[in-house]
């Protein structure tokens, strides 16, 4: 199979710092001139390598995800591959027509109608006129804006606007499609439609490079994922494995951690930890939990000195290190009862429709109560990703955007209504 993209030692340096105007953010002639007199032109810059020796090869027809934290170089990489900006060093070869979609609706003009914008945007994205004409009906159909096609888009709702914009891009027919995180907008149903459309593109033997913060989208779309960290390729391989690396726990599942040897296990004289696990509704170990279903946390510990009342607990932190909750083991079977030495499995099930979506880190802890002596408190022992479905029956309803809040319970609403007058 032949290559679609070969990147060799790509590097991109940005100069940031003093030259930019503090308030307006852009350079003025005066700044440059005064700068010359002060200390010479170069000294005021700070150098930043947004990409640093990035190499990879992508075969034709591959769907490759690119992940990484903010500032890891994802967008810069896409910009370099899209030829929007030039690499400082290195080289890339792209075989076939490239279309990049770094933003939905680039070049849309609010005063122009939907129809006019389809042509304009299509041309900006590199479509030929006859190509646009051929796909026109399909675009309108996909965007679901038939009735408003001759209305200026400034009168469109933001949803319609995004749908139309994506529809144009979705009908590009490149051999290589480069897509930045553009699906963070729009309602959930349409997002799903877009993902499906991109998957279709992949199935036709075209190559797709896809940046996203949504591990859900990445895992659904891509077989292969490249993880960038500080401008370098930190991992490159099968999607699940690399997403696992990104989520922080090496190449093993982040949903299970086992300490087979006592001397390396967290713990003290009385008790030590053996394992922590995250189980889904079916009882399988899983680092991905559907927001609608319960999740079971399990800790396995060994008591070596009997006779103490023990208090196991779990504490969960979200990605912002906010402690979302702490739950104590209040199981009446062992509450206020000194425990004999032995092997214990303590489990707690947290109901579905409770957490907000995102990554949750689990701290597993155990302490004696009288006198209080902490035995272990293993922070980030395991983690799991809560994924909000786009099917409309979770607490997000039909809203496709971000939802603030550390929890996302499904609560009953009631409306009373009286007509006017």
């Amino acid at each position: 199979m032949s290559y679609a993209i070969r990147a060799q030692h790509l590097a991109k340096q940005y100069r940031i710092g003093a030259v930019k105007h503090r308030i307006t953010g852009y350079t003025t002639l005066r700044d440059t001139i005064t700068d010359w007199f002060r200390k010479g032109p170069a000294s005021a810059y700070k150098e930043l390598w947004a990409l640093d020796d990035v190499s990879f090869e992508i075969k034709q027809g591959e769907l490759v995800g690119i992940i990484g934290r903010n500032g890891a170089g994802k967008s810069t990489l896409l910009k370099v591959l899209s030829r929007i900006t030039e690499p400082t060093r290195g080289r890339a070869e792209l075989y076939g027509r490239v279309a990049s979609l770094l933003e939905v609706g680039t070049g849309f003009h609010p005063e122009l109608t939907g129809r006019e914008n389809i042509y304009l945007n299509g041309a900006i994205l590199g479509m030929r006129k006859r190509e646009i004409e051929r796909n026109f009906d399909a675009i309108v159909d996909f965007a679901e804006v038939e009735q408003f096609i001759d209305t200026p888009v400034k009168f469109y709702s933001s949803g319609m606007y995004v749908r139309l914009a994506f529809a144009v891009a979705a009908h590009l027919e490149p051999e290589i499609l480069i897509v930045d995180e553009v699906l963070a907008v729009g309602d959930a149903r349409f997002q799903k439609k877009c993902l499906n459309k991109m998957q279709d593109v992949g199935q036709q033997g075209r190559t797709v490079l896809f940046v996203s913060h949504s591990m859900q989208s990445i895992l659904r779309m891509c077989q292969r994922v490249i993880l960038l960290n500080q401008g370098k390729v930190a991992a490159d391989g099968p999607a699940q494995q690399v997403v696992g690396v990104y989520l922080g726990k090496g190449e093993h599942s982040i949903a299970e951690r086992v300490w087979p040897h006592r001397d390396k296990a967290p713990g003290h004289d009385i008790a030590h930890l053996r394992a922590v696990r995250v189980r889904d509704v079916d009882g399988d170990i899983s680092d991905t939990i559907d927001i609608r279903t319960p999740v079971t946390l399990e800790m396995e510990f060994v008591v070596t000195i009997g006779g103490y009342v023990l208090q196991p607990y779990f504490r969960l932190y979200n990605e912002d290190s906010v402690a979302v909750l702490t739950t104590f083991d209040l199981d009446p079977a062992w509450r206020r009862r000194p425990r004999p030495p032995g092997h214990y499995w303590a489990r707690v099930t947290i109901p579905g429709n409770f957490f907000a979506e995102g990554l949750l880190y689990v701290e597993a802890g155990l302490t004696t109560l009288d006198p209080p002596m902490g035995q272990f408190a293993e922070r980030d022992a395991v983690a799991f990703q809560v994924i909000d479905s786009l099917e409309g029956d979770s607490a997000r309803g039909d809203w496709g955007g971000n939802i603030a809040g550390v929890v996302r319970p499904l609560l009953p609403w009631q409306t009373t209504y009286t007509p006017l007058g």
Partner: protein
């Protein structure tokens, strides 16, 4: 990891036709560019339709949400003509060798307005289209180039006024009128050349936005729009001819009104116009690579 979604199915109603076959053999090479002159004519040709769409957009959008719409293209030069006629024709009493002042003035005002509008729009074009520059690749030179389109449309509309005035003053055109497009091309080259320079500099230095109107105003007085070239005498004529718009306006008057035929000074104008155009183009090409980083 359990699949949360059912297997995806194709969206019906979406046709996916065959890929264009021309491009898959020669790879696109991305690497740091060295040297000034690296230009891909084939690519520019590929994007010719985009140039058309950008022009079309500018023309369409120009007078949207204005009460008077495209009639502004007529009202503007007419008002300016009235002002100039009153001030320079009546009050200052500038001599025009027997040509009615409005006619004399409009023949210069038309190419001048075309030039001034194009330069102003081109100078701001990249910054106005920053969103596109940051997010999509295509030859950037199309953006300032496209501003010529709406300028031409306005020129065409305003030209109607000139025809009306020619009839009104019963001033029969000479065969030289067929050479008019030549002088229009000269104005285009000058406007684009200046536009390339200014738009590329504007990306880095926003001073351009403030300096351009002032520059245009000075340039107007260095161009024989409100007065005849005969005011300039002696060795200054050669210096004067360095302004290519002198050649343009002279050419327009000659072609339309049958004034004195352009002299050797015209050659200087053409040379300067070509130089501005070529250097502007080259500078733009060299600066283009940094646009997305700076804008």
């Amino acid at each position: 990891m359990a699949a949360l979604e059912p297997p995806t199915t194709s969206i019906t109603g979406v046709t996916n036709s065959t890929l264009p076959s021309d491009s898959s053999h020669t790879p696109t090479i991305i690497e740091p560019q060295r040297g000034w002159w690296q230009f891909n004519w084939r690519e520019l040709w590929f994007y010719r339709e985009l140039l058309f769409f950008l022009v079309w957009r500018d023309v369409k959008v120009r007078y949207k949400q204005t009460l008077l719409g495209a009639s502004w293209a007529i009202i503007q030069p007419v008002l300016q003509l009235v002002v100039f006629t009153v001030i320079f024709g009546r009050l200052a009493g500038i001599s025009t060798n027997g040509i009615p002042y409005p006619l004399f003035n409009l023949a210069g005002l038309l190419p001048w307005q075309f030039f001034a509008n194009t330069v102003t729009q081109a100078a701001n074009s990249l910054v106005i289209n920053a969103g596109i520059v940051r997010k999509v690749y295509f030859p950037r030179i199309l953006i300032p180039t496209a501003t010529i389109g709406s300028g031409l449309v306005d020129f065409g509309l305003a030209f109607v006024i000139l025809l009306v005035l020619l009839l009104w003053f019963q001033w029969p055109p000479t065969p030289a009128i067929f050479l008019l497009p030549m002088f229009l091309v000269l104005a285009m080259l000058t406007a684009l050349g200046v536009g390339y320079w200014l738009s590329a500099i504007h990306v880095k230095y926003r001073d351009v936005r403030h300096a351009t109107p002032f520059m245009i105003q000075l340039w107007l007085f260095a161009t024989p729009v409100v007065y005849p070239t005969s005011l300039i005498q002696g060795p200054w004529q050669l210096v004067y001819a360095l302004n290519p718009m002198v050649g343009v306006v002279e050419g327009f008057r000659w072609a339309l009104l049958g004034t004195q035929a352009p002299s050797l000074a015209m050659l200087i104008s053409v040379t300067v116009a070509l130089t501005i155009f070529m250097t502007g183009w080259l500078y733009f090409q060299a600066a283009e690579r940094k646009f997305a980083d700076l804008i």
